[in-house]
């Protein structure tokens, strides 16, 4: 049985608590980083991170990218989408194909 975690600033993530996810509200980047490292070792299958933190700790997150679990997924924070999720898909396509062939319309 696995759990789902949410990391982000308090305002953005408090709602997820009501839905039943485990919420870790963090104030600083270091805080978020250590939280991520800690819960990635536990049985969390999915960890959602708000984009403002995601952007700041890319290196830590990329370590987990090629592992099966956990799946670390950026979600937009209260301040709106920064486009990181879409950029990630774009990057994955570039990595796989060698060129961006999905997003050339924009």
């Amino acid at each position: 049985m696995y759990k789902i975690g949410v990391i982000g600033d308090k305002q953005s993530v408090q709602g997820f608590k009501a839905v039943g996810l485990d919420v870790f509200d963090c104030h600083t980047r270091e805080d978020a980083k250590s939280t991520l490292q800690r819960i990635a070792e536990e049985d969390y299958a999915i960890i959602y991170i708000t984009e403002n933190f995601y952007d700041e700790m890319k290196e830590t997150i990329y370590q987990y990218n090629e592992q099966r679990l956990p799946a670390i997924i950026p979600i937009p924070g209260m301040k709106g989408s920064m486009g990181i999720g879409l950029r990630n898909i774009k990057k994955a396509v570039e990595k796989a194909v060698g060129a961006d062939i999905l997003f050339n319309e924009d």
Binding site: K3, Q14, G15, G20, E66, G85, A96
Partner: protein
């Protein structure tokens, strides 16, 4: 293209021919794998893109509900209302094998007594906006989960494609040409040796023949001389 540093012998030639055969076969299979992975990956990436756009839009709506809720209520009351969740979520992680890539499949279960009432608070102190916000969020949740699964799969597939592509290229542009070059080199070397041997044999034969002729001539000459003296 550089060739391998090996001795040009028949034994090495046989081993190399075997290795070339394996490499060619492996190259073909890896290429097939790469093509199939690519096909599935592109499909999935499109799904991922659409899903992400949709989820981000929905989340934006949910957030705006929360903003309204927090404007109506004081933050202490809101925090208190959300402090103890009524609903728990746990997920099962299954396995899916996509072209030998181990991809997780998420299947979630909510642990709640009453699915209609997921609100972890009494209605007296909270505003209706908060109810809206939470309902919105719990509606998004399945999509959010799907997004996580798809996005993870995309990441894993991308990594696998990159690896496979690198292998295909290494085989196609380095290993196979190298083997071919080396095999050619050994074959030429062996042929050259063969020719050298042939020439040497011919030469020896010539020399032996010459010796034999000289000897024969001498013997004939001796015989003639003896015959003349006896006369």
């Amino acid at each position: 293209m550089a060739r391998l540093n090996v001795n040009p012998t028949r034994m090495v030639l046989t081993t190399l021919k075997n290795r070339l055969r394996v490499a060619v076969k492996g190259h073909k299979m890896l290429k097939d794998k790469r093509d199939e992975l690519m096909k599935q990956f592109l499909e999935l990436a499109r799904v991922n893109k659409a899903l992400r756009e949709q989820v981000e839009k929905q989340l934006r709506d949910a957030y705006s509900n929360f903003v309204i809720a927090s404007a109506v209520m004081s933050s202490e009351v809101m925090e208190e209302a959300l402090m103890y969740p009524k609903q728990g979520v746990s997920i099962d992680v299954g396995k899916k094998n996509v072209m030998s890539v181990d991809v997780p499949v998420f299947d979630f279960k909510t642990t709640t007594d009453d699915t209609a009432n997921i609100y972890p608070y009494g209605f007296a102190n909270t505003s209706a906006e908060l109810d809206n916000a939470i309902e919105n969020l719990s509606n998004i949740f399945p999509e959010l989960l799907k997004l996580a699964a798809v996005e993870k799969e995309v990441q894993l597939l991308a990594a696998e494609i990159e690896k496979t592509r690198r292998r295909v290229n290494a085989l196609e542009y380095i290993m196979i040409p190298k083997f071919e070059e080396t095999i050619k080199y050994i074959q030429m070397k062996l042929d050259e040796n063969e020719r050298g041997n042939q020439v040497r044999l011919m030469k020896v034969k010539d020399m032996m023949l010459e010796e034999a002729i000289v000897e024969k001539q001498e013997r004939t000459k001796n015989a003639i001389d003896g015959f003349r003296q006896n006369k």
